[in-house]
Symmetry: D2
Subunit: 344 residues, 4 copies
């Protein structure tokens, strides 16, 4: 069985494992205050061209979203998200569990627009009983989205503008940021992201690390006391060095981007294969997640040899299916699949 189910089906890039082994017996202080974290922090600040940014390392995505959002909002404030945003559907109500409503906007591909945000804010402001409704205070976007779609520079800039206008924080969930920034049609740099977002994170778990997300906070308002909230939400790893070591390795010489580019390239080959075969795509993704629509019959056949993720029904006879590549996807996995595809 070959897995295309997700970008976390293997362990970590070999350089990361090697570095963990090499440093294993070095003694260090805990909780992210060690020299490895310090090194990783500097590398990330540099890559973001944001020397003043606060950089923190957490273990996973849900934890990171919860920590960032609950640290930023007051009791009566909520966070705007696409209806299909990860915080809205796939975190078992983690945000609500910290007391905050997720204010949703319709979206097919996971992206939301500045115009949608503006409308929501205007509706709030103009509501006679606005104090009876949750106050929007943050915009959450994922880049790439849960459907592999990316924000272009002008789109992010417009989101930033509308956020500034209405006093909202802009927060980017970058669980797969590497795949976004190395997509063939991408126009954003890491430095743009740092400039336009108040806070974002650089995903490690899905981009070659064993685990780990690097939160970058550029807005000083949001920097204050952040470590308290990490601890409270259970995200402060005792052996914080493990996060520092991994992110230092990923950012030392561009490994992070190299890994993600590799995954995107293989995903583009899959996509090409799908299209040549005449499969419809749910969205036109240029990153490592691809969403062909296939008949349920065909899905059964595929599943005999390849593990893929069922995403949603598409009418009674078809399904939207996710194919995911990663740093660990071997070229021959893709080639084998493409060969089989021809015969289906």
């Amino acid at each position: 069985m070959i897995y295309f189910t997700s970008d976390y089906t293997e362990g970590a890039h070999e350089r990361i494992l090697a570095r963990l082994t090499e440093t294993n017996l070095v003694q260090s202080t805990g909780y992210g205050e060690d020299e490895f974290c310090e090194e990783a922090r500097k590398l990330i600040q540099k890559a973001c061209e944001a020397p003043e940014a606060a950089v923190h390392f957490l273990v996973g995505g849900t934890q990171t979203n919860t920590t960032v959002i609950s640290s930023a909002l007051r009791a009566h404030q909520g966070v705007i998200s696409a209806e299909c945003g990860h915080i809205s559907v796939h975190e078992t109500g983690a945000i609500e569990a910290t007391g905050h409503k997720v204010l949703t906007l319709p979206s097919k591909d996971g992206k939301i627009t500045a115009e949608q945000v503006r409308s929501l804010c205007e509706a709030h402001i103009n509501d006679d009983s606005f104090e009876h409704t949750v106050q929007p205070k943050m915009v959450y976007i994922s880049n790439p989205t849960e459907y592999g779609m990316i924000y272009q520079k002008d789109e992010l800039m417009k989101l930033k503008e509308v956020c500034r206008e209405y006093g909202l924080y802009l927060f980017m969930d970058g669980a797969r940021l590497g795949y976004g920034l190395t997509a063939p049609d991408n126009t954003l740099t890491l430095s743009d992201v740092a400039r336009f977002c108040d806070v974002f994170y650089i995903g490690g778990t899905k981009c070659g690390a064993l685990f780990g997300e690097a939160v970058v906070i550029t807005n000083p308002e949001l920097q204050k006391d952040f470590r308290y909230v990490i601890k409270q939400k259970g995200g402060m790893l005792a052996k914080g060095r493990l996060l520092g070591i991994q992110f230092a390795e990923l950012f030392k010489d561009g490994l992070y981007f190299e890994i993600c580019r590799h995954a995107n390239e293989l995903a583009m080959e899959l996509k090409k294969g799908f299209c040549e075969k005449g499969w419809e795509l749910y969205v036109d993704s240029s990153t490592n997640q691809q969403f062909p629509i296939v008949s349920n019959e065909l899905l059964a056949k595929i599943s005999e040899k390849y593990a893929v993720s069922y995403t949603a029904a598409c009418g009674p006879e078809k399904s939207i299916v996710r194919f995911c590549t990663s740093w660990a996807t071997k070229e021959n996995y893709v080639r084998e699949f493409l060969d089989d595809l021809k015969n289906w």
Copy 2:
């Protein structure tokens, strides 16, 4: 500088790293539903003599405490803990952040007694306005405690009895359970723990793993829907296999206990040295954490070469200090210290 600050100053036992490396490219499903977790689960059920117990793997202690407690309690219920219990002081209010009060009992060494629990429950029941106060519903104990002290079999049995009588769940924080169960004066087995507690966890982070805590739930009431709460509280590791691989290695042939026994033995040597030197001990711990009381002057001298943890002031001129050993503490660290000690 030699670190005696904590039991998480190094990475992981070499066998764990080796196994992670060896399995690195095996593809698996995520979120703890892989074959490695399944193997570890079985090994732990067997070690606990509890084939029906639910076993879940989480990343860290605060997260685990929060998940267990918030999964078990209704809105108006609280958890009883020693005043110096980890959930009461050192988790930045994580339990309160999920809505529950920590009801504290005085304790010098971190242990609480069945009699204390009974008194608190009786006071609640007999309060005219009992509905105006938090209802006690769970007892949290740590074994060993934050001061290295252990519960003996009869003490745990009595706690279980009082819990049964008042309808309380008994929850043991076993972040350092291995050190407790291998202490020279210990009378508890892992199977006793499973029998007397409704839920407990076997600490990995502080006992040789890179990270990880194995929650064992024996009370079926508490087993229901636990994975939802893990996910909500941010504790469901995407690459759950990393936890399975580590715990399988630790429990395959008794490595877990071997590691902890080693740390305890070195701690006993330190303790012997302290006593021979005439140092007072804050408590009489038989596990890997030792708490001598030293003059601040002496502490400064020690700190030139050895990193230790300052715990609390003991009057204006003395401090309670923690020395911690672990699987990674080398015998020559201890020998070197004991040599120096003679000359102070």
Copy 3:
């Protein structure tokens, strides 16, 4: 200016004020354990034909919804509601503030169907990663809805059935229950409501009392420890007698229903007037809230003399407007309006 804005623009029915005055100097215990509350409790149990039901008195609606929902749900569970349900939009995220997600279903008129609930539950159960999503555990309906619409007996019965099938609690927000039960086309009795719902409340604030909501809990599972949660959520009135006195008066000889019938009758006159004038109605409500769609120009004219509630825009040039009657609406208010209406 004549107010048709809401059903809480005046104080209370005169009999209530008289009874409060009459009993003012009687001494009683606090927090709802007095003789007046006991009397009211018995009257309500009798009216519901539910002698075993627990009856509690709270001050207001948001508080009541929060208390009921937070008392019933575990951390990972959510409550299903119409998108326009009061808990979903008009309580400043009160439900989320207690940690629970509101799972919404589309609805134009505020009603939801058994079929919608079934679909949502099936989707949850069949989701591969169901533990990553909030577990539905309660259905919230308002009767009448925020748009004045009522549930008929067969509709409520079907909701009950689907709830039983999927293990959900059925909770009816009866802030305006009296108007529903006395609507001309209503087929439900209070006893039906008690039989089909696990918990519901009988609204006082909007039905002639100064304030107050009587929660009726028929499901024993939900009865346990409810007073603790009332206290925690700030809903336990010190002078609980005030609630007992009011509800006893309302239920002594059918005053509650008499009051509400009066309001409905006047609302029907308004509705008839709207229709004769050719105004479109947003929904076909048979209760005290009426929602005509009028041009913004006309709305401005109306507003010179009559206060009404703007509800929503209906295209660029029209608005959906709420007219509300109550126990206190005088017949001549309505007659005056209908006279004016003819001339617009």
Copy 4:
């Protein structure tokens, strides 16, 4: 049976009832935005000599404490209180239910000192792992305390100073403020309270109103968006006018203080009687709550005719008992009791 159990055993002062009746049919907008609330707001601002203060009306004390505290604190922050403070013991964990820890200081009589607050803050700041503990951000005091004791001007000033120094908000629970400000030995004015506290409330429920607490927020930081939080926490009364009418009446011509002075005077007579009889007092209260220590045998005898509140055991054979007077306590209640007392 004569009740000395509490200051909320009767309805409301007759002038309040009369005013409610008189205004009953006036139509007004809801949620505290009516003319009566506006009038009351102005009267209170004037009485506080704080024309810029925000004044909000809520229904009860627990609700008010919860709303104020949860509005002011970020996720990782806690509120300092006396161990026996109302928020610490008698609100069923309402503060924790909004996510915040109550950080307690020992106190016999319910008062805490600036020095205690300083020590707690210093301990937090100097803790090596301060981010692992809850950050103190607010000081909660009750005046009078739960044991009837009052803060003098210099004490409050010192508390304010220490709060300013450590960046804490000072919050006074004034559920019985009227009794404090009219105590024979009081040195504080309402204007002092407004000057020294960032936020406080003027209790109505226990001081002659049917219900109601007037929150006064002088610190602009805490004023922002407060109404959202009132609504979320269930404290926004639909018929807000009821609160406005009551507080306007209480503050129109000093009725509030007159009522409370009356209660204090009767309490002083009781106290004198206790002392003459040789009863020990738990604390030396100068307000409407008195705490004699009596033998359990005597308590049984008292209870045949007088309802009093059992507060706590005082050894195996004695009890601390609360006698409470109010606006409604008749002089002959006290006289009758004092006559009986002589014969016991």
